[in-house]
């Protein structure tokens, strides 16, 4: 199958590549079918590209690349809804926000990861019960700003 007019151009995909989020992403419940696109080999980033709206793609990241200590517990209700057991292969990704032209200001939402059951290819954005996780985790240290080091 072919998806035209995405921000990556035309994407080819198979039915088996599709990931379904029955409830969609929080705030976007009407979009439920996606494919995961990795634009650079070895990159921790994956775009959750809608196959229903080519202009819609969420930037996700593998949190272990930036926060190795991040080990969220998926709440029971969510695990049950996704049919996840200890052995089920699953993917846990977090949304990444990068302000225009400022990759150094990238933040990750650690409070609401996207969890995908790789066997069923069904996923959900899970709001964690542990409120200690921030929605705007800064990945890169903020550079100290002095008159001489501020970039032109």
């Amino acid at each position: 199958m072919q998806l035209d007019n995405t921000r990556f151009g035309t994407i080819e995909y198979q039915d088996g590549d599709v990931v379904t989020l029955p409830e969609g992403m929080v705030g976007f419940p009407q979009w439920t079918r996606f494919v995961l696109v990795q634009t650079r080999e070895g990159s921790p980033f994956r775009w959750l590209q809608s196959v229903e709206d080519p202009s819609l793609a969420f930037l996700l990241a593998d949190p272990s690349a930036y926060c190795p200590e991040y080990a969220p517990e998926v709440p029971d209700a969510a695990a049950r809804a996704l049919a996840l057991t200890e052995e089920t292969p699953c993917l846990l990704l977090v949304t990444a926000a990068i302000p225009r032209g400022r990759p150094e200001d990238m933040t990750l939402n650690l409070a609401a990861p996207v969890v995908i059951n790789l066997k069923t290819r069904v996923g959900a954005q899970v709001i964690l019960e542990n409120e200690a996780y921030t929605m705007k985790h800064r990945v890169f240290e903020q550079a100290p700003q002095t008159a001489s080091t501020k970039a032109a």
């Binding site: 992403m25 929080v26 705030g27 949304t95 990068i98 990759p103 409070a111 890169f140």
Partner: protein, 68 residues
């Protein structure tokens, strides 16, 4: 919007299996108890809205801005 007035310890039932109880009221704060089946998600509205906003931001990222 349906508007109901409740006193402390009174409840509201939503659908067949969701109950919201006013546990206590202290000044400006109202403490609510929510009884719902385990598969029903309940969150403070501002939490939901903040996540929606972060999602919106992640959907607006320019692929050229990816680090590394």
């Amino acid at each position: 919007m349906l508007v109901l007035t409740r006193k402390v310890h009174q409840s509201i039932i939503v659908g067949d299996d969701i109950e919201i109880v006013v546990l206590d009221v202290r000044g400006e704060q109202v403490r609510l108890g929510i009884k719902a089946p385990k598969d029903v998600v309940v969150h403070r509205k501002e939490v939901y809205e903040q996540i929606q906003e972060e999602n919106r931001r992640s959907a607006g990222v320019n692929p050229e801005d990816l680090p590394g």
